[in-house]
Point group: C2
Chain length 342, copies 2
């Protein structure tokens, strides 16, 4: 390449990177030759020399044997998409990595930093990365003393309390919970918020737990919850598929929604706008979270100072639909759903 342009290696580098003291003529000439030859500088060499790879990792905690939970929960898909977009917009690319510390893969890729979704307490991957001096930003407030660079999360407690108040205001006397057996922060915070609320209003807790990664178990647990002698007249489901599961279970028991049973679930799926009846959902705004996480990470990589705290709380949104309104509005032709933009 340098030979083809009749200049030195230094000049090529300077011309392409806009550095050095070169007249425009030389710069143009070099770029033109590079274009003609289809020359692409070696990313590996650049990375070796500069120490920056332009790659950031994305790690999703794994339930079960499958490495990812992308599919079951629209949350992860949306969050990952937003993160990818945000990274690309700033010239970075995203690498998807397993949460398990498989040396052979992790050490094969030179990362500038990593996004970790829902890290467990004492997460070995995180501690290893931090030891290497790499910035780590987590989606989900880190448990314990996990030394992340920054984190982004919702206020799960407030969201659940607000949601339960909403159900109570709609007439619910006994609200049930469909929750998970896993110990991740989301499940834990949401469940304790529920228990607190029950204590505050003097209701006996009514809940069923199941392993969230098993879609079959979700349907069974929904059934169990509605089969109880102390059957709730409203249910909040913590996970994405709970809405359809609960709706199906309600139909099996002849319960009308919302007349006999109020329903809310936490989901990012748009299908709940067109179910019969449409189901109220709690959105955690994964796109905003994915974007925020990546921004914080790249800021840390590039040494941008944050005077504020490196914690960011994203507000949730309760999308109220028919399933949580005791008096459903007069049935009218519902407008086609419109795309939500954040």
């Amino acid at each position: 390449m340098a030979a083809a342009a009749g200049v030195s290696i230094t000049t090529v580098s300077d011309a392409l990177n806009g550095k050095g003291r070169l007249p425009d003529a030389t710069r143009r000439h070099v770029r033109e030759v590079a274009e003609r030859l289809g020359y692409r500088p070696s990313a590996a060499a650049r990375t070796l020399r500069t120490g920056k790879s332009g790659l950031i990792g994305l790690t999703v905690t794994t339930y079960g044997d499958e490495p990812f939970t992308f599919t079951e929960f629209a949350y992860f898909a949306e969050m990952a998409r937003a993160a990818t977009s945000a990274a690309l917009a700033r010239g970075y690319a995203l690498v998807i990595l397993p949460a398990t510390s498989r040396h052979d893969v992790w050490s094969n890729v030179a990362l500038d930093g990593t996004v970790v979704i829902d890290p467990s307490d004492q997460d070995p991957v995180v501690t290893e990365l931090v030891r290497q001096g790499l910035p780590v930003v987590s989606d989900g407030r880190p448990a314990g003393t996990l030394p992340v660079t920054a984190w982004v999360d919702n206020d799960h407690r407030a969201a659940v309390l607000d949601l339960l108040d909403h159900l109570a205001a709609a007439g619910a006397r006994r609200i049930g919970l469909l929750t998970g057996t896993t110990t991740d922060t989301y499940t834990r915070l949401s469940t304790t918020a529920y228990l607190h609320w029950c204590e505050r209003v003097g209701q006996d807790p009514v809940y069923e737990s199941y392993p969230a990664h098993d879609p079959c178990a979700g349907a069974v647990a929904a059934d169990r919850l509605l089969a109880r002698p102390d059957r709730p007249d409203a249910v909040y489901g913590l996970f994405d598929p709970n809405g359809t599961d609960l709706l199906a279970a309600a139909r099996r028991y002849g319960l009308r929604v919302p007349e006999d049973l109020l329903l809310v679930c936490c989901s990012e799926s748009t299908v709940y706008g067109t179910t019969e009846p449409p189901i109220t959902t709690l959105s955690l705004k994964p796109r905003r979270i994915g974007t925020a996480v990546v921004q914080l990470l790249i800021d840390a990589i590039e040494g941008v100072e944050h005077d504020g705290p490196v914690e960011q709380v994203i507000p949730t949104e309760l999308i109220v639909r028919t399933s949580s309104q005791r008096r459903p509005p007069r049935t009218t032709v519902s407008a086609p759903r419109s795309p939500s933009r954040d």
Copy 2:
């Protein structure tokens, strides 16, 4: 590191890579010191030296301004998940890249090869990669003379013909199609298969098109299709959300499913098992496609010879549910859905 272990750099390299002529004692010693120091060989240097990065790209064609379509279609999410798993299982990591040839990102990452989902004819990214000598495997039979290394696809034509026969056997007299305005291979093949089928059985085609990336437009198009004077008594929707869209539209027009309207859509979403009524779906088996694509790509990277053709056709699966059966089975308590495993 070499100094800490009291050996030469060569010995360290040989010890960690299992090469050279070293007694087990030395090998163990070096590995132990490396472990103690938390030493990780530089991925950038290794890549520079060997020419292999252990990274493969994943590119999704973009509709509209958002770089990815992950969310709308469970297909992409499942396919990406399977591809990621398959790559990791063979020691590779996946990098998500934009389909647009943004130099700054593409040239920042050293790839060993790339998976391209649904490349357009004359795709500039593909031709550029091939020019660089990198293997490219596409999900979707490449249009025109696109020089991909290998490809994997379904037999869309056969799938559609089979599906239409199924609807006709269930009593459909006039089958409508909800299709897209885009020119990707999937849409094109499916639509022409529909037109062929219509011609064969002597039915006038009844279809509505809309830009598939716009979820709002899908609902409107579904409405349009059922509002036509030549209203079909069965509809096949090419895209994931069409099922719920059509169901909602049918309710608005007072049409019972499946008594007045048979419904099938192409989707990987599990929600169609619990809608009212459950909707028959055509599954393209994205997990098998994602796995196959990555296997072929890594085989090409590692120089594994294929005596057979480097084309692979994955069978589709028609998951028959109530919505496409004119005589619905006696209503019974439907079993909770079980996870499908491929």
